[in-house]
Symmetry: C2
């Protein structure tokens, strides 16, 4: 594994480091009320999830010696039945979305039963443990927006880049209406498909808008692994990971590493924002532009929005740090420009510092909001809920 | 495997039936100029393709006893190296896109190196053998349209269904312009993602429009496996496969089987066309509406367009049969209503009957065009080329 991938896996695995590599095999018998995961491929019966929130995998591998379910950083051995199929269960998982894979005689492969999602720096399997509050991202018979796969030319990178753009339900029926824009970033090892696929961003907004809880706005989801990123993989990187320490701009991440997001910042400010304002019916000003992100995307939000307060008025950081009053050179200027600061964590993460920062910002007169997602860790249910809490705060002026 | 899947696999495997299940192992040594497939996951080095158009797979499976590359209906054994990785090559493949999988100790799984595509009734691996004429679907620095993931409510099915909609490059910049619409269908075992992902429909149109070779139009790509389909899988089917024989409407497919597409026809005519005309800036009349499809989608086009000539004026059938003058009850009416009939096949398919039908239609005064894709079979390069030939014929009045 090369150093850049190790670095990025470190971010992604933040909350998994303390877990053992292999599960204990003496789990109690599972409650037999398993149902197919809602993220299975059409017609596929496995993986399944039961009321204890255990995940049961099943795969036919007649000649295999060893098959394991690898989920949440833990490997669970499957047992072979007389039909040649290997079956086994995980321990109870948190509610929500989980990346996982199968390990068949040493080969790490996707489960042929699941749909595939980009995370952990690969396209791989995902399973959904039904959440008690899943109604907020359910597909309902309400007006739906569109999720648009969009190409734009980046002068900074001299190439075409891709982003996804959510347009709200009335975008096509109100041809003269203009909309605010949220730039919403994925986490480390993920890409521009994450918020639409794993995050259900479109369904969350459709439902909030239908209930009158959020104003209609456009969401732009770009891939932050642009050419030239010091944290890039899969494309030639002009900077090596260590080189970012000498940058004047950066964010300190887990383990004290510094991340330099300046290549993506150039794409955002020089290419993407102008493209979006030219190609969609936006309200193209600071008052109607927000940025948010999860994990590494939150770190990017902090760096890029804070350095461009003439462009962004609403800031959201989900499981990606916070903003302390001590970091603000000019509090009066910040308060004048920034309408909302939102910081969130899953309850199983270490969010106390973020909560204290938000409290300090509030005392200083900033419109700052802290949210803690109940019984979740560094995972997508925390971020779906964060978006659902953040969206109603946007563009209320 | 249940009967509906067997039936559908039969369509998909039409041209593969004559091939042996296992490859001969005495292939000559491969030319060592392998390059990563353009459809690999970011940063993944395998699969690779060489100048002979062989596909080389590599997967780490340290404890496996047997690993095979399964492509084009043929299984090629891989050999284990000292590093625990299994490596091996296929015979030369046709240029273009191919579905494939790995078989690891009997487990049929996706290759963790490739991107995934929906075909053969599953999400699985795809590999691209560079075609000499690949420029027509290359990503270029031209104005790009958008591919929109769109939900619509189907009264016929009492549920939300999904389709993808391509809007041409000037759709956002010409807010008062209205556009013709092509309804473009996937094949058996595929879905509404096929034309955008495997087919590169958006890039093909972007390039044709930029060169002035095609008029800008909207493309609607729906999933024809709607609830209630007699050829459905993965959802409860109200009809069994045999039941469609008693239908008054249907298409005879390979092996003399009849396919009843009436559930999808109801969705198309009652739900999808009205939704598209209400939600996009269409020219909502027969003169500006086309239907085309590949393989099973061609069969659907024949059934649905022919039964609704008040709604469609342009018909395209790619590797999915043809239209014979003997099938037309009223030739004068057909000629008056239908502006273009287009039929195509890959040169390795049996397209002679289609060519003869088109010749007969031409003699009868129909604007009918036949196209044969050189050196391809029942596969995506045939259909990419077919779209590229068909699009310039559309909406020329």
């Amino acid at each position: 594994m090369n150093p850049t991938i190790i670095m990025r896996t470190a971010i992604f695995s933040l909350t998994l480091a303390a877990l053992p590599l292999f599960a204990q095999t003496n789990q109690p018998p599972a409650v037999e009320d398993f149902k197919p995961s809602t993220l299975n491929q059409p017609g596929k019966q496995y993986p399944q999830v039961n009321s204890e929130r255990r995940v049961r995998a099943r795969v036919v591998a007649a000649q295999a010696k060893s098959v394991m379910l690898d989920i949440g950083g833990v490997k669970y051995p499957l047992a072979k039945g007389e039909d040649g199929a290997w079956v086994g269960e995980s321990r109870p998982q948190d509610e929500g979305f989980h990346y996982y894979q199968l390990v068949i005689d040493g080969a790490q492969v996707p489960d042929p039963g699941s749909l595939y999602f980009y995370g952990a720096s690969r396209w791989g399997s995902g399973v959904e443990v039904p959440a008690a509050d899943r109604d907020f991202y359910a597909l309902k018979n309400v007006p739906h927006g569109q999720l648009r796969q969009t190409l734009f030319y980046s002068k900074s990178c001299n190439t075409n880049l891709q982003c996804f753009v959510y347009t709200p339900p009335d975008y096509e029926t109100e041809p003269s209406k203009r909309y605010p824009v949220l730039f919403l970033q994925h986490g480390g090892g993920e890409d521009d498909t994450g918020w639409g696929n794993q995050g259900h961003a479109g369904l969350i907004l459709d439902n909030l808008i239908a209930e009158g809880k959020a104003k209609p706005f456009i969401i732009v989801m770009a891939n932050s692994y642009v050419p030239g990123s010091s944290y890039a993989f899969g494309r030639p990187s002009t900077n090596q990971p260590g080189a970012s320490n000498s940058s004047s701009r950066g964010v300190t991440g887990p383990g004290g590493r510094r991340f330099d997001f300046s290549a993506f910042e150039r794409v955002m400010t020089n290419d993407l924002i102008p493209f979006v304002d030219a190609s969609f019916r936006t309200l193209p000003d600071q008052a109607h532009r927000a940025m948010a992100g999860l994990s590494m995307g939150g770190m990017q939000t902090r760096q890029i929005a804070m350095a461009n307060l003439d462009k962004f008025s609403h800031i959201g950081i989900f499981s990606g740090g916070s903003i302390s009053p001590t970091q603000l050179a000019d509090m009066a200027d910040f308060k004048q420009k920034v309408k909302v600061v939102f910081v969130s964590y899953g309850s199983r993460e270490k969010g106390a510092a973020g909560k204290a920062d938000i409290e300090s910002l509030r005392k200083a007169g900033v419109n700052a909001v802290f949210y803690e997602s109940p019984n979740t860790a560094h995972e997508w249910l925390s971020w779906r809920r964060s978006l659902c809490q953040f969206a109603p705060l946007l563009f209320q002026d």
